[in-house]
Symmetry: C2
Subunit: 238 residues, 2 copies
């Protein structure tokens, strides 16, 4: 079934910590583990049938990618990025995804274009039905684009930023509105396929800005916790 051999042994062969890492990552991005959730090594290991050693490795990796916070002697919990973190992440994304577009202009094969179109098609399919996979696919579109550049560092960073963006969205974003994303993705593919560098760059910038706005929507209505408390304090004359 796979290149390296039988399917049965594969999972056990490719290192357990990797499996735990992926499981935790998916759980976080699916919001099965909400932001701030404590992640005790013992429980996770017991639950997944591995030792703490393995869990620890996975947690260290997730910490490196900013998906969890890891405070000494206090254990791990799902990251709760601040609004400023959100702004920073999207600012970097804007730069890097511009580089993605720039790297891809005039270099996409017909087959790659079909691949992108197929992905957007899948996004469209999931648009109304399945909200969860819809969000996931929207993010993976950007990851796919980044991977097509064959720039490993670029694609690693974009992947990481997209993951963290999901967290931001779950914390501060509006419920969900993937409709525009799909059409924006389509327009971007068209511009890329036509080799229109300026148009593609402008579309990507606009697209990321749109995501940023949606993701950080609550920044105007809802305050950070400390500020929220301060407001109440003022009302009580404290």
């Amino acid at each position: 079934m796979t290149a390296d051999g039988h399917d049965k042994t594969r999972k056990s062969t490719v290192s357990k910590s990797d499996a735990v890492y992926r499981a935790l990552k998916r759980a976080i991005l699916d919001q099965a583990l909400a932001a701030g959730t404590k992640l005790p090594e013992d429980s996770i290991g017991e639950r997944l049938g591995v030792s703490r050693t393995i869990v620890r490795q996975a947690l260290a990796r997730l910490n490196g990618e900013g998906l969890i916070e890891l405070r000494p002697h206090k254990g791990a919990c799902v990251a709760q990025p601040s609004l400023e973190d959100g702004r920073n992440i999207f600012a970097v994304r804007r730069s890097l995804e511009a580089l993605v577009v720039d790297s891809l202009i005039g270099k996409l094969s017909p087959q790659q274009i079909r691949q992108l179109e197929a992905h957007v098609e899948a996004e469209d399919m999931a648009r109304a039905n399945d909200t969860a996979t819809s969000i996931q696919l929207a993010g993976e579109f950007h990851v796919l684009l980044a991977k097509l550049t064959e720039n490993d560092i670029l694609s690693r960073y974009v992947t990481e930023l997209v993951s963290r963006s999901s967290l931001i969205l779950s914390l501060y974003g509006r419920p969900h509105s993937p409709d525009c994303a799909v059409s924006e993705h389509r327009e971007l593919i068209t511009a890329l396929a036509r080799g229109d560098r300026d148009k593609a760059g402008a579309l990507m910038h606009h697209h990321i800005d749109a995501i940023t706005t949606r993701a950080l929507l609550k920044s105007q209505t809802e305050k950070d916790f400390p500020d929220l408390l301060a407001a109440y304090a003022r009302e009580e004359g404290l």
Copy 2:
């Protein structure tokens, strides 16, 4: 001496794996450990007086940052980035350091400008005397700029890329030529201080392009190992 307490206990308090991580990282960036050097967990642990557990954590982290390569059941060795890796790394640096400049324009306090000038001064001092620290300081200038943006993600990525750039330079770059770097850094500070966005952006792009050229110099004269071998094979009629 430090914020968190007495100096004596500090080192033992802030986790051993962090210390090992920093030691190995410095050793790699100082080229005390040449690219490709094997890094057996046992030896390192014995040498540094810690258990393999700690060394493993440090190695995993270095692997995440691309400074070492970690192949299953084969152990770790100092990374040997390819020329393509080099091109990719500098391409991403170009984008991100442009964002650094953009973030800093019009936002540098007089004190921060003095800090930057002091750093370049130090670069100038080490220019002729100490080649090793000269290289190090040149890289740290970019790290310092990135940190001044107060964008944690941006500064983390730039730091990582600067580290990996050092590796690239040690593999493919010409011996050393920091003279131009110093003057270019000075010009950049001036443009930043004056708030001249276009000038600063252009300077940074030019500066990174210059570094890229110097770093990947051997790309024209010296081939990759496989290509090199292929050339010999052709000569022998193989």
